[in-house]
């Protein structure tokens, strides 16, 4: 693999010099991103928080294994967190169907509460998408999260999954086809209110 530019290089160099502020910046920069990755893969906030925390600490412990110039730090961090998520998903596979039912039910009967209607609509959309993501086969969900939400370069997302870019494309196509079918009912209202969507649906780049 050719040498690559790493947008985190400056921060990491400051870490290597022992600047305490750099550690705080590392957490500020990476924790939200890793939390998003974990939550969308696991579909559970509490578990996602545990995994994000565990992953950042784990990455820090193993920083001597990271190979700068061959992998971006962000991609390597994704690998750490991704493996933790895979482990969680594997161990809870037996319980998954029951949890999914509860999640879908919660999404369908979200408490309207006192929040503004628009905010409620957004929360319901978010819950529907979360439930639809949960229902995807794990590999399809991984592909979609890595490409769409984490906005990883195609080759990096494919490498993290141990597949070719062509295989990643196939996984994405199947994932999006399933999601479109599941979210068909929601799409009409989403089109009617496009302002609810974030300006950059792919998420912030690393």
């Amino acid at each position: 693999m050719a040498e690559i530019d790493d947008p985190d290089a400056d921060l990491l160099a400051r870490l290597a010099r022992g600047e305490p502020q750099a550690a705080r910046e590392l957490v500020e920069r990476k924790l939200p991103r890793m939390l998003g990755l974990a939550q969308r893969l696991l579909g559970n906030r509490a578990e996602a928080e545990e995994v994000a925390q565990e992953g950042l600490v784990r990455a820090w412990q193993q920083v001597g294994h990271w190979r700068p110039g061959q992998a971006r730090f962000d991609t390597w961090l994704h690998e750490v967190v991704l493996n933790l998520c895979r482990d969680r998903l594997r161990r809870r596979a037996v319980r998954r169907e029951e949890a999914l039912d509860e999640h879908a039910e919660a999404a369908a009967f979200a408490d309207p509460g006192p929040t503004p209607e628009q905010q409620l609509d957004h929360a319901q959309h978010s819950a529907r998408v979360a439930a639809a993501l949960d229902a995807l086969p794990p590999r399809q969900r991984e592909a979609l999260v890595l490409h769409y939400y984490q906005a990883l370069p195609q080759a990096e997302a494919a490498a993290l999954m141990g597949v070719s870019v062509d295989a990643l494309e196939s996984l994405l196509a199947r994932a999006r086809r399933s999601l479109r079918a599941r979210l068909q009912d929601a799409s009409t209202s989403a089109i009617a209110a496009p302002a609810q969507a974030p300006a950059d649906p792919g998420g912030s780049p690393p």
Binding site: M1, L12, A16, G18, P20, A23, R24, V27, E28, L31, P32, L35, R40, R45, A46, E49, Q53, E54, G55, V57, R58, W60, Q61, Q62, V63, G64, H65, W66, R67, P68, Q70, A71, W76, E79, V80, N83, D87, R91, H125, S126, V129, L144, Y148, Y149, A159, L160, M161, G162, E169, S170, A173, R176, L179, R180, S187, A190, I191, A197, P201, G202
Partner: protein, 175 residues
């Protein structure tokens, strides 16, 4: 590029052509400029954009201050990083079962910090020192180190995770 291939790409990668495979973007743009295909292309991209918009509505709340503080505290408690730079093998960082510092702490279950980074100055000062050596090694001689397989190769000190299983989940990087 054929119209069928254009449809495949839109269905897989979404409506933003910048996120399609780089080697196919120019051909896709060229196809879109052909009058006979332009309306169909717009329809395909509109359909892809509908799904992109829906996916974009799935928001993840930002981490709490308690979680951020817990992460920093966890980083601070990494005695393994005291290992001399140049000896990155995780097996050189023995952690007795049940005392591994990296085990997660539920932020929600912790006593809240009284300030956003009230723990940061303490944690930061400690962790920067212990991490600097290992990170410096990575930055300087990383390519000479064994292939990175983070969180996969070592077992025994992180009970109950995939890392005990010896590779069942090793499907990762080709880097």
């Amino acid at each position: 590029m054929t119209p069928d291939r254009f449809e495949q790409l839109a269905d897989a990668w979404g409506a933003d052509l910048r996120r399609w495979p780089a080697q196919e973007q120019a051909a896709a743009h060229a196809l879109m400029e052909q009058p006979a295909f332009a309306p169909a292309a717009r329809a395909l991209l509109a359909r892809a954009n509908e799904l992109d918009t829906l996916l974009g509505s799935h928001a993840v709340a930002p981490p709490s201050a308690a979680l951020a503080s817990a992460v920093l505290a966890g980083l601070q408690a990494c005695p393994g990083l005291a290992t001399a730079p140049g000896q990155p093998s995780p097996h050189a960082w023995p952690q007795p079962r049940g005392t591994a510092p990296a085990r997660p702490v539920r932020a929600s279950g912790r006593k809240p910090w009284h300030g956003w980074w009230s723990g940061a100055s303490i944690a930061g000062a400690g962790l920067a020192g212990v991490a600097a050596g290992a990170l410096a090694v990575a930055l300087l001689i990383g390519t000479a180190l064994p292939t990175a397989r983070p969180a996969q190769s070592e077992g025994g000190w992180w009970p109950g995770t995939a890392f005990d299983t010896g590779g069942a989940l090793v499907e990762g990087s080709e880097e």
